[in-house]
Amino acid sequence: MGDVVFEARGLWKTYDMGEVQVHALRGVDLDLYAGELVVLLGASGSGKSTLVNILGGLDTATSGTVLYRGRDLTRADDAALTEYRRHYVGFVFQFYNLIPSLTARENVALVTEIAKDPMSPDEALGLVGLSGRMDHFPAQLSGGEQQRVAIARAISKRPAVLLCDEPTGALDSTTGVVVLDALARVNRELGTTTAIITHNVAQAEMAQRVIHLSDGTITGIVENANPRPARELTW
């Protein structure tokens, strides 16, 4: 196992919903290692998105600490978190979130223009198998293609960590497999630490480690000595 990338200790996240308090995370301890591909598995409301958002610098914990390679994310302000996301984190979301007014290549260029050591947009799109559709606008691409553009955009900065929140949630299973295969390839070829959120048990088979969450706590971590190639998954 590689170096520790993330080190979370005693993470609590509490939302004030008027008179009631909702605890999204209740004391989570977790380490993520360089180059590994993990799947966070849990039902909706289990806290997996909250955890990933905190790891990715989109949200801050109510208490506890998160260290990214020794740097404390829980104490960082908005500007520092922005810089962190800008240089180290790649995100992939369920709803792609591409900029509709930019072509596939330009959506990737949006990131490469501000990154420190990016690959070229063409190279990133090649990695996800979209070399032929680089000049299409999002409205001209299928859902799976849009999601692969989102992945290309996320990896083009050569992020230290790739966080994917239900990347196949809006896709049918055939398309979903293509997207997961692209993620696995990036993890393999670039060595990017990758965390994939899903509630789909079948997808857990591609992970080296599966982290089970329920009701805001980690209920178990299962190591998988022989992850299955994404191509072989069905659901």
């Binding site: 007014s101 930019l102 260029a109």
Partner: protein, 790 residues
């Protein structure tokens, strides 16, 4: 307990959710309705007050001046068909001395029947009383003049009438409908410090002015059905033998003509300013509600699925708009009434009505409210129709993703120079060309309104520059009571401090071409005149013509003659000759309608020997008081006018009111610019919150994200400013045309300062909107946005 239907409760919450935008639109509506209500009501008020004042104080329908006519002639005038009532009077010029004021003060002294009001042109007594019989030194003073010098009943004045000094005791302060604007003949601006109207008993004035048993002015009213032109012709026939200088109707009465011009301008401003505001408000409502409805398409679908009819849903949104429009209309009406009254009081200072009869016709309020709500509802109907047209099932699905393409700029091959955020800006703008264009027009309108409102001071500056820098260079203009031998020039040159003196001749005349005629005066200038210059359209000096007559362009238009044509000149003094004279050329004259000849040629035309009507002087400032003192007691001197002083005192007052006007207009124009910019940014934000949040997730800094949002509207603002310059210049040309009349022909001049002010107001309004919206960008909730479907 008030119970609201669920749908109405939704309406209130929707309103609360868009409170910033709703307020911005409301402000624009308020600005529009305020200008409309205040301007129309002030026009109605002034016009109503004027008519009432004229009626109550019996302002005459026609007037005539004559050199000297025996009182019996009045009976002949009364017999003219169409004359209802006729009154004679004596009018005299005088030099006045006011204690503590060293400069020359000219007085116009009008006779008053003893112990009673005149039959026509009665006085409104503000303070004190009319003159009493047998008290020859009692005088009533016009209020502006009294105010300018702090004169009160009981005070004394020195007057030199026909060279005789008299001490007059002020017994009353009064106003007259004939002297609403107290402008001294031959000058441009009212100057109550240096020119005053006084009323003296008829007996006393006639004795002083050699008019016993005679008169030199008549005023008359018309019988029902009579026309002024017919009566004027007859009056001129009668008075011609006594040195009549031409009768004229109310329309040509200097005070009335001046005030009518001012009202006309007010009326045309009231016609276009509010329309612009209301149009912008309608446009804003349109885009805001279109956006709101497109955000709520699922809600619309749900409502329809539950069985609400298209009408219910449509009415729901119309109500939303009506709430905003009605609130704006009510606020605007109240503010407009308040502003109307406040402006009325300002005008009261200026025009000197005895009272102000504030008029707000109910139709004005009804029009304002229905224009506003109508514009708002029409603006919204399209969006509502689109919302209710969708079948519920379709409306519940998300809208198809917007289609984009490379922009024009990029297709030109310039894309290499554009980073991705800039491409986003350009493509968003190009995808909605109509909205972008309307936004540009909206912002440009505010810029244009400002220019149209502000440029008038540029015009005045230019007139002053041309009139007093090029055309009239004298320090003092001395006019004699009647044409005088040229030897008087030597006397003037010998006065203390006089550095240079040039004679001039002024001959009252009626110019005619066929049925067209115009009463004016011909000014005769020496061939080498320096102090008074005739200028052409390019502002180059022209020599006064030896042969023929030079006409102001306005006069050429009135008479329909040009260079080379002939005009008939009827001299209205002396031997009263009628001669046909060729038009030698045209001259540029912004104010007044003059005619010019070389002085000797004019004397020959009048059939008189070498004579001068007065002289223009250049005076060493240090000796001015001594010179004034020396001139004041000379019996032949009718008036001493120091143009420069009059202009500068007027400019000071004008500058003050201009500052107030500029501030108000800037505020209103700023409100429009703010309304458009703020709404367009808010809408861009609501349409792109997802995009912007995505970019924040990708690691874009707040400023970089704000660049996309603010850059889009910022680009439109930058585009709008030059467009606004064009609109402003267009409005300026249009309003100058609306203002043009017989008396005025103004140059269209737009100073760089005016454009600068307009641009700055727009930029400041845009910057304020940007700051407000920037705060929203900072609050973008990345997680919430990303978790929801588009």
């Amino acid at each position: 307990m008030l119970s609201l239907r669920a749908l109405d409760r939704k309406l209130l919450r929707d309103l609360r959710g868009m409170i910033g935008q709703a307020l911005a639109i409301m402000f624009v509506i308020i600005a529009g309705v305020t200008t409309y209500v205040s301007m129309i009501s002030i026009y109605d008020t002034l016009d109503g007050t004027l008519q009432r004042y004229y009626r109550e104080y019996r302002f005459a329908d026609g007037f005539a001046s004559v050199r000297r006519a025996p009182e019996q002639v009045a009976d002949r005038l009364r017999e003219i068909p169409g004359v209802a009532e006729l009154e004679t009077r004596v009018v005299a010029g005088a030099n006045l001395e006011v204690a503590g004021f060293g400069e020359p003060v000219m007085g116009l002294i009008v006779s008053l029947p003893e112990d009673r009001q005149p039959a026509l042109n009665q006085l409104f007594i503000r303070e004190g009383r009319l003159v009493q019989a047998g008290r020859e030194n009692e005088v009533v003073v016009n209020e502006p003049f009294a105010d300018a010098h702090g004169i009160r009943p009981g005070d004394e004045l020195q007057a030199i009438i026909s060279g005789r000094r008299r001490t007059l005791t002020v017994v009353g302060i009064a106003l007259s409908p004939g002297y609403l604007m107290q402008i001294q003949p031959g000058t441009m601006f009212p100057d109550p410090q240096r020119f005053g109207v006084l009323w003296l008993g008829r007996t006393a004035l006639a004795a002083a002015w050699d008019m016993e048993g005679a008169f030199n002015e008549v005023a008359f009213t018309l019988a029902p059905g009579a026309t002024i032109d017919d009566v004027v012709t007859h009056v001129d026939l009668v008075l011609g033998a006594y040195g009549g200088t031409g009768a004229y109707g109310r329309a040509d009465h200097p005070s009335h003509a001046m005030i009518t011009e001012e009202f006309k301008q007010l009326q045309s401003m009231a016609a276009f300013l509010p329309v612009i505001f209301l149009a912008v408000a309608a446009f804003l409502l349109n885009i805001v509600v279109t956006r709101l409805i497109s955000l709520q398409r699922e809600q619309v679908a749900v409502l329809k699925a539950f069985g609400y009819t298209n009408r219910d849903v449509g009415w729901h949104y119309i109500k939303l708009v009506l709430v905003i429009a009605t609130a704006g209309a009510i606020g605007g009406t109240l503010l407009g009434m308040w502003a109307g009254r406040a402006m009325g009081n300002l005008y009261l200072e200026f025009y000197r009505f005895p009272y102000l009869h504030y008029t707000l016709r109910p139709q004005v309020v009804i029009t304002a409210v229905s224009l506003t709500t109508g514009a708002a509802v029409i603006g919204v109907l399209r969006a509502v129709r689109r919302a209710v047209r969708l079948p519920p099932a379709e409306a519940m699905r998300p809208a198809p993703p917007p289609r984009f393409r490379a922009t024009f700029v990029e297709r030109l091959g310039l894309h290499r120079f554009l980073d991705q955020p800039t491409r986003i800006i350009l493509r968003n703008l190009e995808r909605q060309p109509l909205r972008s264009a309307l936004t540009v027009v909206g912002i440009a309108a505010s810029c244009g309104i400002l220019i149209a409102g502000l440029f008038f001071s540029d015009v005045i500056d230019e007139i002053v520059r041309v009139q007093f820098g090029l055309a009239q260079r004298d320090d003092v203009r001395v006019t004699f009571i009647e044409p005088t031998s040229m030897s008087a020039l030597a006397e003037l040159r010998a006065l203390p401090g006089v550095q240079h003196a040039e004679p001039f001749r002024f001959v009252p005349a009626r110019l005619r071409n066929g049925h067209r005629s115009y009463d004016t005066g011909i000014e005769g200038l020496p061939e080498d005149a320096y102090l008074r210059q005739i200028i052409d359209r390019e502002l180059q000096p022209l020599a006064p013509p030896q042969d023929g007559i030079m006409l102001a362009m306005q006069l050429g238009r009135i008479l329909d003659v040009g260079a080379g044509d002939e005009v008939v000149v009827e001299i209205m003094e002396g031997r009263r000759r009628t001669v046909s004279v060729p038009v030698a050329g045209m001259t540029e004259q912004y104010i007044g309608v003059g005619a010019y000849m070389e002085m000797d040629a004019l004397n020959r035309l009048a059939g008189e020997g070498q004579a001068m009507s007065g002289a223009l002087l250049l005076v060493d400032e240090r000796y001015e008081d001594a010179m004034n003192a020396a001139l004041r007691d000379r019996p032949r001197v009718a008036s001493i006018v120091s143009q420069e002083r009059a202009v500068s005192s007027y400019m000071d007052t004008a500058a003050e009111s201009m500052l107030v006007f500029t501030a108000i207009l800037s505020l209103f124009a700023g409100v429009i610019a703010f309304g458009v910019v703020y709404n367009s940014m808010r809408i861009a934000l609501s349409e792109r919150d997802r995009e912007l949040a995505s970019m924040r997730v990708l690691g874009f800094r707040r400023g970089e994200v704000a660049y996309i949002l603010l850059g889009e509207t910022g680009l439109l603002v930058l585009l709008a400013i030059p467009v606004g310059f064009l609109i402003g210049a267009g409005l300026a040309v249009w309003s100058i045309a609306a203002f043009e009349s017989e008396m005025f022909s103004f140059p269209v001049v737009l100073a760089r300062r005016t454009f600068g002010t307009a641009a700055i107001v727009v930029l400041v309004a845009a910057a304020i909107s940007a700051l407000l919206v920037r705060r929203q960008v900072h609050r973008l909730d990345m997680i919430a946005v990303l978790k929801t479907r588009e």
